[in-house]
Symmetry: C2
Subunit: 196 residues, 2 copies
């Protein structure tokens, strides 16, 4: 059963008894999000965090000029939500949708907090996951401040090797922070435009 993917992720950091696993599963909702469907829309409240069993989600914001900026891709084994909206229960400025048909387990903030009291090990697990997310987010900030677009493209290829050939390259551009035109120039033109 697909719940095993989630349990597997938990067991990397904590040990859960059979009863605890059962209890946890009572608080989860399984859902299929079809390609191009939304899990979260700007203006809504992120009531749940999602664990991706298969497929891939993305979170992004849309700026004043209508450009999308991708914060995170979530392939198999990743958690995704808008953390701001999830912890404050205020309206989100992000959108989350599916790049392909995707299976997820949803855990509401409400249930998460209940579980933290019933199974303190779960609070540990999420503490660790959040620490790791913070490391990733800070690293990406540094990369954006110190690297060129071409170097960031290289890092993307290492970080999400499975995605490169599976998603449109305009999404890669929206992640590394350039226009699709410029990414195309990078990959093909490479460097030179000047004479010989």
């Amino acid at each position: 059963m697909s719940l095993q993917k989630l349990i597997g992720s938990l067991q990397k950091h904590i040990a859960l008894s059979a009863q605890e696993q059962e209890l946890l599963s009572d608080f989860l909702v399984f859902k299929i999000i079809k390609k191009r469907q939304f899990l979260l829309h700007e203006g809504q409240i992120a009531r749940e965090v999602a664990f991706v069993v298969s497929g891939c989600l993305r979170s992004y914001s849309i700026d004043q000029n209508g450009f999308e900026h991708i914060l995170q891709f979530a392939p198999t084994g990743w958690w995704i939500t808008d953390m701001y909206s999830f912890i404050s229960q205020q309206q989100t400025h992000l959108t989350i949708d599916a790049l392909m048909d995707t299976e997820v387990y949803l855990l509401s903030r409400e249930n998460q907090l209940i579980l933290f009291d019933k199974i303190p090990k779960l609070e540990r697990y999420f503490r660790i996951v959040t620490e790791n997310s913070l490391v990733g987010s800070r690293q990406r900030l540094i990369d954006n401040l110190s690297l060129t677009a071409s170097q960031r493209y290289g890092i993307f290829c290492n970080t999400y090797p499975t995605l490169i050939h599976d998603i449109p390259q305009k999404l890669i551009a929206a992640y590394i922070g350039v226009t699709p035109e410029f990414l195309s120039k990078l990959k093909n033109g490479g460097a030179k435009t000047k004479k010989s």
Copy 2:
């Protein structure tokens, strides 16, 4: 006593008994870092996380060209470390130093993990602090991807109102991601360079 500042921060999220406060304080080390002195140097391991009681620290990375990029300022009431090195105990790529004489409490990762077992509420506190840091980091990423330098300067002024007049403006430039020359142009020149 200055420990009260830390306890005050804890009490915003959790309730600690007198004994628990005592136990916690046994694991903390008080330290004064004088202006321009280092708390962490590239290549070292971040054994501790620091809580700033007074003064201000900063964390930054240095890129291939020798330019500094500031990840975080930590005035009174903020926690700071290199989360990557702190959780993995691998060598850091960041540097942390003091912008002015600064008082901190240090908590080692080792002691932090011991405390998480002895006082689960502390794990909750750090789970919450880390969630909030993640929100801040993600927001800053969005800002860097979607806003102009001028808009980012405005946000800096709102985020760290106390710092604007207390730190050299080259540091503000290193935070918002522009050169000191360009920030100067922004503040004074404003817009025009072309003819009337």
